[in-house]
Amino acid sequence: MLRDLRDKLVVVRERLIVGLIWLCGVSSIVFVFGIFYFVFREGAPFLFSRFDAGEFFGSPEWYPTSEVNKRYGALALILGTASVTVLAMVISVPFSLGSAVLISEFCTGKLKETLKVTIEFLAAVPSVVWGFIGLVVFNPLIRNYTPASDGLCVLNGGIVVAFMSLPIIVSIAEDALKAVPDSYREAAIALGATRWQMVYRVLFPAAKNGLLAAVLLGVGRAVGETMAVLMATGHSVRMPIDGKFPFFHILEGCRTLTATIASELGEAARLEPDPTGAYPEEANHYQVLFVLGLLLLLITFTINLTADLIVKGVRKQDET
């Protein structure tokens, strides 16, 4: 009798624990959808009333607090994010792939461990510290050694973000290289390839999906970076890419989507609709910032999903 009860208790406890673990597992899915839902909900009144895709994606005129003519053109902000990201990748991809190759193929023992720890430490530097480095280190360097009139510019932001995405790219790229079976290396060496030929003729093609995923995750990091770009880019609503020579103005200031949200959400009041359900014009500022957030979410979500699918593709190939 007592034993029966105890057995039942054990079963119940087991189920409870399994249920709890299941809950923990699915909670992240719930959170992701929850985030999408709440960001969408805050931005929705703007999306369905004032939003004009032609203006939003086609005009650089970002005047959400204007007294006379409020305008919500986000093109300059989108291009700001794009140009800082592209520049960061141009700087960081060669360095990161180089470090990944060095760590996984060319060095062993103490040097390898030291390099890995140091690069991981780079990932631990808080973003506001990177922003500070942009302000006090790169700012005077750019001002003194380039024709730029002021060192807070796309180049500065690009360099800072390059440093920040480097550790992610290095560690994932290194994993991808490590996943290439040793038999490939042995075959290449046996056929008389030098080590460098082995790296770029055999390892790079074999690990290309993993390397691509590494770069994409680095891009995701760069797109989402806020504090450092806020401090390093001069926070200036300006088209970094336009028809005027030299077309890509890396020595001019720019402003990114993330920096705009961070800097303006503080003042934008969340206003309630009047009894008829219409929002006052002042409420648009808060809402449009959430539309920017939604856009950012979509961008990073797509990038991460693509990277995931690519990595999945690699696994499938390995199994066959």
Partner: protein, 304 residues
């Protein structure tokens, strides 16, 4: 230049921390730590006033050791928003409340915001110390800052650009849009029109002065208290042929200097208790002495 990051972070931290603190009535929050009761007054808002507010708070600690004033910046807009939601006791603002903000505050808290003019400030027009230009008219200033304005080169102002700025292009520094200085400048100089695209929008009064100090081609506007030896003021005149005026205490008080404004503190409802005592002290001789020391303009003695 640290201020750019830290003021943002600070205001974020403070707003998060304060959400949890209940009972922030206008009399301040009394916390009982280790037997001795301490009254905490939360004071947030204008970046222009943050140094001033900090000095007041420090000075007041000597007067009333059991009252602690916690000051943070973030911009006038941030202070006013936090006042409306009742998480600060006193908001600092370098602009007046907009009618819709007043209505929001009334609706959310049932109390009217009360305004106190605690000091005056002149907005200095800063340029690099090597800039040979001495004076500027309000109209020229508007053309530099206005959307699609016609002045983009120093030579258009009659300055010999070769001597100090190789590119001749004016690098225009401005403030982020939640700054009271930004709103005031837009109203006073641009007649509520919009700023040009491509200004570098910095996050603090001091940052603007620092940036101008490092940028020979630069021009910026900021509170006159932030003047350093690296930069100089342009004299401002209301028009061609009118006298050009330097931003000094006398010129601001006599209203000769055209871009000057009052600085405010706001409370929700008539202040009571510790907050009232603090504001009274700010108006006292000792409080106004701090205003002078910080480079702002004191209010003419209250009895007059």
């Amino acid at each position: 230049m640290i201020g750019k990051g830290s003021s943002l972070v600070l205001s974020a931290v403070v707003s998060v921390a304060l959400v949890g603190a209940s009972g922030c009535d206008s009399g301040g929050t009394t916390t009982d730590s280790g037997g001795s009761a301490r009254t905490v007054i939360q004071n947030t808002g204008s970046d222009t006033m943050v140094n001033l507010a900090q000095s007041w708070a420090e000075e007041y600690r000597e007067v009333k050791p059991d009252v602690s004033i916690e000051v943070s910046g973030g911009g006038s807009g941030v202070g006013i928003r936090d006042l409306m939601t009742g998480i600060v006791d006193i908001a600092n603002a370098s602009r007046t409340l907009k009618p819709d903000e007043e209505a929001q505050a009334k609706r959310k808290t049932g109390k009217d915001p009360i305004e106190f003019t605690v000091a005056y400030d002149g907005i200095g027009i800063y340029v690099h110390k090597d800039n040979p230009l001495e004076e500027i008219t309000l109209a020229q200033l508007a053309e530099i800052y206005r959307e699609n304005g016609s002045i983009t080169k120093w030579s258009q102002l009659g300055a010999d650009a070769d001597s100090f700025c190789s590119g001749d292009d004016i690098v225009v520094f401005s403030r982020q849009s939640n700054s009271g200085t930004y709103v005031y400048f837009r109203e006073a100089v641009l007649g509520k029109g919009d700023f040009r695209l491509g200004t570098k929008d910095l996050h603090g009064s001091k940052d603007v002065v620092d940036a101008v100090a490092h940028t020979p081609c630069g021009i910026g506007y900021s509170g006159m208290g932030y003047k350093t030896d690296e930069v100089k003021f342009l004299k401002v005149s209301t028009g061609e042929g009118q006298p050009s005026i330097l931003p000094t205490t006398e010129n601001v008080l006599s209203k000769k200097y055209p871009i000057a404004r009052p600085l405010y503190m706001y409370t929700l409802g008539e202040p009571t208790g510790a907050a009232k005592e603090y504001i009274d002290w700010v108006f006292s001789e000792a409080g106004q002495k701090v205003v002078v020391e910080e480079g702002y303009v004191p209010i003419p003695s209250k009895s007059s």
